[in-house]
Amino acid sequence: MAVDELAPPGGDGRALLEVADRVVGRATGGEGIEAYVVRGVDTEIRAYNGDVEALTSATSAGIGIRVVRDGRLGFAWAGSLDPEVIERTLAEARDNAEYATPDEHVRLAVPDGVAAATVDVWDAALPTVDTEAKVALALDTERRARGADKRIRQVDSVDYGDGMVEAALVSTTGIRATWRRTSGYVSASVIADDGAGSQTGGGYSVGRGFADIDPAVAVDDAVERAVRMLGATKGASGRLTAVFDRRVATTILGVISSALSGEAVIKGRSFFAGRLGESVADPMVTLVDDPTDVRAYAASAYDGEGLACRRNVLIDGGTLRQFLYDTESASRAGTTSTGSAVRGGFASTPGAGARALLLAPGSDGLDQSGVLAAVGEGLFIQSVTGVHSGVNPISGDFSVGVEGLMIRDGVLAEPVREITVASTLQRMLHSVVAIGADVEWLPGIAAGQTLAIADVQVSGT
């Protein structure tokens, strides 16, 4: 696709549907074909020291084709919508299908009668915003960050980014869906220095459109996080209550959700396997995945197989109620899809997963300072590191590096760093002691809320 076609993705996705229709129309008797066609336009601007460091503008497009024949699945993708390339990709997917193990549960999604909700995640104004305005916003953010506090010695990076994506999904089994979304963000990463040492902080502002992006939010967040860590020392070991910042709570929910994937459960890779109907969390924990909630970052009318997204209650009052299924894992489990197929893009196949997790806020309606006051003594966790290397959703082992501040008399006190916090996901769910009502929809698959968990092990001095 040429750069000349930098024009924003158009209104109804008809062009992409036509591409997908042509591929699916090639199916021969007994052959199932699914074509997933995606096209996007992205802008990225990095500001540094009063200047634009880099400006990227690009359009990209691609196709992923699944072929199912006699219970055997083959997949191929290409980063192009050139007809000859698509032809080769289809042939490759067909050839790949020859080698898979036949399996009665391997199948494409079939429309299940659930009507798709209206989920409008397209900001019509974004395609009309010119690059100069985006550059001005990035430079403004960088200038604000540099001037925000005399202790900010460096603005490491300020990034503006936006994207417009449209997709079409068509299959021989009757799926025919299109969707589109816009998103934008500005992020700031700053270094504070008090002469005795440096600390870092990051902040961002996200939205569907340009008008939703607020440089002040990103800058204030970044500066607050860096400055309040100044003077941090290595914390002391001990067993205490941890209060997770909204952003950190989002990350933890994301990890827990991979254990709620029906695919992980059915393959024995989840600590939740075999526990439906049992108490898996404190009774105050109710966890819902509802991608039709338009506030959610990854909100969508359709799942990754073209079925309607729907609200699924996963944990209700501490009791495990439901797993998330795509078509294949549902068949394997003897149930039906929950409309929870997710896919990383045209280059990957769908799997079962969450899109829009939300913990029911605590009945006391606490914001972050309310949670801190309720906890009284403990550790506030501002950021975590090593989630990929220290959190295991199969065994449940949990161990992360932490930066944060001690909580004393219900308020934030001295900053601490170079410590770890450890527990198991199983125990953490049972040890939830407060869930904030300060819901913020953050990038990713879960809302952010301040979350207090008792009895974690801090390792430090």
Partner: protein
Amino acid sequence: MIDQPVLERVLGEALRHGGTFAEVFAEDRSTSSALLDDGRVEQLSSGHDRGAGIRVVVGETTGFAHTADLSEAGLLAAARAAAAVARSAGGARTVTAPLTPAAGPVDRGTEATGAASKADVLELLKRADDTARSAGGAISQVQAGYGGSRRRILVANSDGVHHRDDQMRTRFSVSCVAVGDSGMQTGFETAARTVGFELFDEISVEDLANEAAVRALTKLAARPAPSGELPVVLAGGSGGILFHEACGHGLEADHIAKDASVYTGKVGQLVASPLVTLVDDGTVGTEWGTAGIDDEGRPSQRNVLIENGVLTDYMWDFLRARADGRASSGNGRRQSYQHLPMVRMTNTFLLPGADDPAEIVAQTPKGVYVAKLGGGQVNTTTGDFVFGTTEAYLIEDGKITEPLRDANLIGNGPEVLRRVDAVADDFAMTPGTCGKDGQSVPVGCGQATLRITGVTIGGTAA
């Protein structure tokens, strides 16, 4: 991929409105993968991607555009889009040096294509599955994966560089779940090299499968890892991620230029134990971070970063090196043609020492022995970093005793480097994937058995 006259016209167009540098990076990548899970070959996948990224540098600003259209018209359009940023800056017109084609890439192996090789891949996956499942009755789940890729790249720039490379990569991994009274535990093992199907002449999938399975089985009896600070012995080839995180990222010149590294301004100073000599080298054999050239057309080279504890140099890409009036160290890498290059590691490793690995353990009264590491993460500004264990044991009275559950270890880069008090001679490399600013690139890490006098262990035991 693209003819020289076309490249010259595209570079000319990119600099038509001014600028000090323009570059065309073209890439053609084909991938194939296969996954055996839950006893079934779930799917074979194939992918193909090709395109070009064009950058134009004007003053301190880089304009970048990429396109999947490698026709002259498509490249010229991308050049104009990348140059748009130059137009507003109004720089003077610059002269483009004539392109000097370099010698072609070296042959790096045989691609796994065609029906025979797909069947061969399935055979390997099944052998791995059989081996893992026969390692013990407690093995409840096995996943085996194969991935192969061929990446052909071309770099041409206004300094006259015109270089190509042909990069072959093959990896094979096995992950196992074991179930016992204490719940589930996991074991993972992978082999990955910059070769084609020849990987399987060099490694045994049975060995990989067995290691992954035994790792999961061993941990069924694991006790919670301790908390607090203890001496740590890292086994040779346990991951090498320690140095990647403790100082590798902090020695990348982009962090240095922004004064966002604890190692800024420390060249010539003692930053580590004299036992530490750290090298980044993109030319080492068929290791995972090896390539003929980096993604800016600079031939890979060996760079000594720390020598006997003294910081000798940082790692550089084209722009950071140019700003400093020196040559790139061959560390300009990018995930794909859709990404801008930045300073990245290749194969980063600690040179071996003279100690005996068994003796190092024997002389450690109490500590943690790490047989295998997972990933890690660092804040280059503060130097604080974590790295995770996937197979670790207690050391008691100089002996390796009970297995420990997985945990992260946390330390501060400069402090940990000073605490290395023994390095053995049993050097080994391991493959990994390094993420930075949203881009992933393959890297190698290496080290011999070594001891750190104190690291904080992130376990749950008080």
